[in-house]
């Protein structure tokens, strides 16, 4: 049985490339501001209005412990379907898609990308680059405390 | 103007047929949402072509065909019958009941255009 090539969406947070299966990505929109919700976790940027729906926005830079940057036109909101919840992920850029073979993913090595290590499920090579498969479960997990 | 009667109980289906045939500017479309409405319209106005779905409630396409072909005035009317895949038995019955031509869903715009051109070309050629 031949290997299956699965389409993935590639996006950048800081200097690193991450991927998510295209089947979990509902939309990609440009970022035009967010309404902050007081009392939420630090990495929850707030609420955004996308295509008629108001959804939460998670700032991946903040989630990965990277400092904030100035607003840029390249920033994107990647809307994912997580167990029926629609959630936006704020990333620095999202321009490509890539076909990655199911078997091409390896366990993540001990990379130091600030605190991103806990949020990466697997790694794979796309051409000369190493891309990280995001673990949405961990990224979107609730931490106790707050409010 | 070439008068076309589009018969299907699904509005989406009728709209798709019209959209596929948009390329032919001379066509004017009348919608009928049931076989009964189709028969009524055919009795009160004249049409150059009928696109007829076989699968409709109350009175199916075959009955419409049989009734229409029994009318003198409508014996030569070009009727393009549309069936769904897996219903090949209906094809035989349709042709037997007097369908001029038939097509299966799903069809492409090119597919239906070819059929319509052929049917209309034939009839104008004759007159």
């Amino acid at each position: 049985m031949s290997a299956v090539d699965v389409l993935h969406v590639v996006f950048k947070v800081g200097e690193t490339d991450y991927v998510l299966p295209a089947s979990t990505v509902l939309e990609m929109e440009s970022f035009s501001g967010v309404t902050h919700v007081p009392g939420t976790a630090t990495h929850v940027a707030g609420l955004v209005h996308i295509r008629g729906r108001v959804i939460p926005l998670v700032d991946l830079r903040a989630r990965f412990g990277l400092g904030p940057v100035e607003r840029s036109l390249d920033q994107r909101v990647v809307v994912v379907d997580h167990h029926g919840r629609r959630i936006g992920l704020l990333v620095d850029a999202a321009r490509e898609v890539a076909k990655i073979e199911q078997g091409a993913f390896d366990r993540p090595p001990d990379i130091v990308v600030e605190r991103a290590a806990g949020f990466v499920k697997a790694v794979a090579r796309v051409g000369p680059r190493l891309v990280m498969l995001l673990d949405c479960e961990r990224v979107l997990a609730q931490e106790q405390g707050d409010g | 103007m070439t008068e076309v009667l589009v018969v299907d109980d699904s509005k989406v289906m009728r709209d798709m047929v019209v959209a596929c045939l948009r390329a032919r500017e001379r066509l004017r479309f009348t919608h009928a949402a049931s076989g009964l409405e189709a028969i009524e319209r055919l009795s009160l106005a004249s049409f150059d072509l009928v696109v007829l779905d076989l699968n409709m409630p109350d009175i199916g396409g075959i009955e419409v065909l049989e009734f229409v072909r029994a009318q003198d005035k409508l014996r030569e009317l070009p009727i393009l019958v549309v069936t769904t895949r897996g219903d090949e038995a209906s094809r035989e019955r349709a042709l037997g009941a007097g369908a001029s031509s038939f097509m299966t869903k799903p069809f492409t715009p090119e597919g239906i255009l070819d059929q319509v051109d052929a049917l209309l070309g034939e009839s104008t050629g004759r007159s």
Binding site: T35, L47 | S10, L44, D58, R85, K105, P106, T108
Partner: protein, 674 residues
């Protein structure tokens, strides 16, 4: 489809039609399920047509998953229809599952998700059921009808059966003869209007077109013979159909005495058929469009507020603007009515929402081995579509729980002296003008509180509320391995979160050994709220005006800072307002944010006898807004009720000032003397 025609154009129309067909499919399956021993010629015919049409449409849209499912179901139903007009008993389950699988795929399509292919095991099951022989005698009715043979001969056995059943109910058989003419068509009477006119008052068994000689008035050479069963008199039916009474006549019918009635006992008249027909005149609509309409209404209200301000200003200059004011006031009422109408459009009958439940329970029979009867008695209760969409999965989960964990196996039930079939009842009643109570009652074994407590590692709860708290702890599962039915999807913790997010509630009544009752309290509408808009820290917020007692200027001289001893925590401020002394707090601080500047105004909020003054930068006016609850746990925080759109595309937070006040009261109650 290819190139020049884009299927996306037809997506909304397709979804609407697919929904209708699914409704007909589930309705007919439910009808067959209610009376499995009857012949169901009509239901099978409708099933066939809906499946066939759905297949064709899905084919044109390129959705193979649905095409394959519909085709397999259609083959099965067709085989049944041909042999005796009866579904073999084992055919109903895969059909119900198939309908569910198609529904899921339609929903996926509507949500913009990928549509999975049809599951192979289900297709195989449908194929197997199509090969199984059907049982039961062929229904025969040797009915003599006083009708022209040209009509009588064309009636199928199924149709004769239908007529026979109707006659046994005291309905009459009537023949309506309609001749279409150009004059009638111009006056608006066509075969379509005649059928629509008859439909609510009777069942049209058959319509036959007939040739007739052409005349000057009727050049069509055509008439329609409609065989109708109805309770109306000839005159009444003619009036309903808008035809001449001379075109309607009653048909005599007799059953020869020597033929034994081979049809089994007749059930109550199927009102479902009448209902479906009278649903014409129903329009499908996208809830997003309704919401947009409501938001446009907000924008109009905003404009009117500005107009009023302008009028105020001009009046202050001495102009007599009474007539202008009166005009503005006159507009208020129709706008209010429009808002009520739009809100009303969002309501859906609960009964329709719950239609698939009996089928789901039936599906569980095979996986759980439990025999359960589900009855739904919700009357005409309606609720907001958005609320219904959120409540439905919660209801399904609770019903599944009741079947899976609540109802005992037939043996255990027998040993407890209960009937072998379990009973789950879903009922609805309004507990207040604004809320609806939906209760799910089962006669199972109830919840074993001690076992639950043990599994959770908590002390045995002292009451049902405590038991519910343990059951709704995230991650809690009352079986070691998640069962195949209740294990996936939402859990009781999500059910509680859903009800909380909606501003409703969840309650449990446990009767050990006898059963459980779950009560969901749901708001009837999502709130359209009259709200103040204001600025605090250069951010805009909204708050319902209902809780705001007054808005005041904060004069520095009116602020008092009582001295605090060491170790007594944050200094508090008090505001003198008309002889009263009220605790003063920066709204920003109350939200846990740092204040960013001058806050010269304050909103005085009252809650349960306590008052608090929240300081803000400035007021921005009044708006009527549609509050969307913050559903996702990531953004659910106390103090924020939801978000609304003020017309600029960015969500604006709607604050729960009453809630904030409550928490502040707890914190400072010891410190402030009234």
């Amino acid at each position: 489809m290819t190139q020049s025609v884009d299927v996306q154009e037809f997506l909304q129309g397709f979804l609407g039609e697919a929904d209708e067909h699914l409704g007909r499919i589930t309705g007919n399956l439910a009808a067959i399920e209610r009376e499995p021993s009857h012949a169901h010629g009509r239901e099978l015919g409708e099933l066939l047509r809906s499946l066939h049409t759905l297949k064709g449409l899905a084919g044109m849209m390129g959705i193979d998953g649905i095409v394959d499912l519909a085709h397999a179901m259609e083959t099965l139903v067709r085989a049944a229809e041909r042999s005796h007009g009866r579904l073999p008993p084992r055919a109903l389950d895969p059909l119900v599952e198939g309908a569910g699988a198609i529904t899921q795929r339609i929903r996926a399509l509507a949500d913009g998700l990928a549509v999975p292919p049809a599951p192979e095991p289900l297709l195989a099951a449908l194929e197997r059921a199509a090969d199984a022989p059907s049982e039961g005698p062929e229904p025969r009715r040797a009915l003599q009808l006083d009708l022209d043979p040209s009509i009588a001969d064309k009636l199928t056995a199924s149709e004769r059966e239908e007529i026979g059943r109707a006659l046994e109910h005291g309905d009459a058989v009537v023949l309506v003869e309609f001749v279409p003419t150009p004059a009638k068509a111009e006056a608006g009477t066509t075969i379509t209007t005649v059928r629509a006119g008859i439909a609510p008052h009777g069942r049209i068994v058959r319509v036959l077109p007939r040739s007739r000689p052409r005349t000057e008035d009727a050049p069509g050479g055509l008439d329609f013979a409609l065989v109708v069963v109805t309770r109306l008199s000839v005159a009444e039916l003619a009036a309903a159909a808008r035809v001449d009474p001379s075109d309607v006549r009653r048909i005599g019918a007799t059953e020869p005495v020597d033929t034994p009635a081979l049809v089994e006992s007749v059930g109550p008249a199927d009102e479902g058929a009448f209902d479906r027909a009278s649903r014409k005149g129903v329009v499908r609509m996208d809830v997003a469009k309704l919401d947009a309409a409501l938001e446009h209404l907000s924008a109009i209200a905003l404009g009117r507020a500005r107009l009023r301000e302008e009028v105020q200003r001009l009046a202050a200059d001495g102009l007599d603007l009474r007539r202008l004011r009166a005009m503005l006031d006159d507009e208020a009422r129709p706008l209010r009515r429009m808002r009520e109408t739009l809100l009303g459009l969002r309501m859906v009958p609960l009964r329709e929402v719950l239609e698939p439940l009996p089928l789901i329970v039936r599906g569980l029979r095979n996986t759980t081995g439990k025999h359960v009867r589900l009855s739904v008695d919700v009357g005409t209760a309606e609720l907001d579509k958005t609320v219904a969409e959120r409540v439905f999965p919660a209801l399904v989960h609770i019903v599944r729980n009741a079947v899976d964990h609540g109802i005992e196996s037939p043996d255990v039930r027998a040993s407890r002296g209960k009937p072998p079939e379990g009973h789950v009842r879903v009922e609805a009643s309004s507990s207040s003008a604004a809320t609806l109570d939906i209760t799910i009652v089962d006669d199972g074994g109830g919840v074993d509180a001690a076992a639950v407590a043990r599994r959770a590692g908590k002390p045995v709860p002292s009451d049902d509320a405590g038991l519910l708290d343990i059951l709704t702890t995230p991650g809690f599962s009352s079986r070691d391995e998640t069962t195949t039915t209740s294990g996936r999807g939402i859990g009781l913790d999500i059910v509680r979160q859903t009800m909380d997010a909606l501003g409703g509630a969840l309650e449990l009544e446990n009767r050990p050994g006898q059963g459980t009752t779950m009560r969901l309290r749901a708001p009837l509408t999502v709130a359209i709220v009259d709200a103040f808009a204001f600025e605090a820290g250069r951010e805009r917020y909204l708050a319902p005006i209902g809780v705001v007692d007054a808005i005041v200027e904060v004069e520095p001289s009116a602020v008092v800072r009582p001295p605090r001893g060491p170790g007594e925590g944050q200094p508090i401020e008090l505001l003198h307002v008309r002889g009263d002394v009220i605790p003063l707090v920066s709204l920003r601080r109350a939200l846990g944010l740092a204040p960013t500047g001058d806050e010269p105004k304050a909103m005085i909020v009252r809650r349960a006898g306590h008052r608090f003054a929240f300081t803000i930068e400035r007021m921005l006016g009044r708006h009527e807004v549609l509050v969307r609850p913050l559903g996702d746990p990531l953004v659910r925080v106390p103090g924020v009720a939801g978000s609304a759109d003020l017309g600029d595309g960015r969500p604006t937070l709607v604050l729960d000032l009453a809630g904030l006040t409550g928490r502040l009261v707890e914190r400072t109650s010891a410190e402030v003397q009234p």
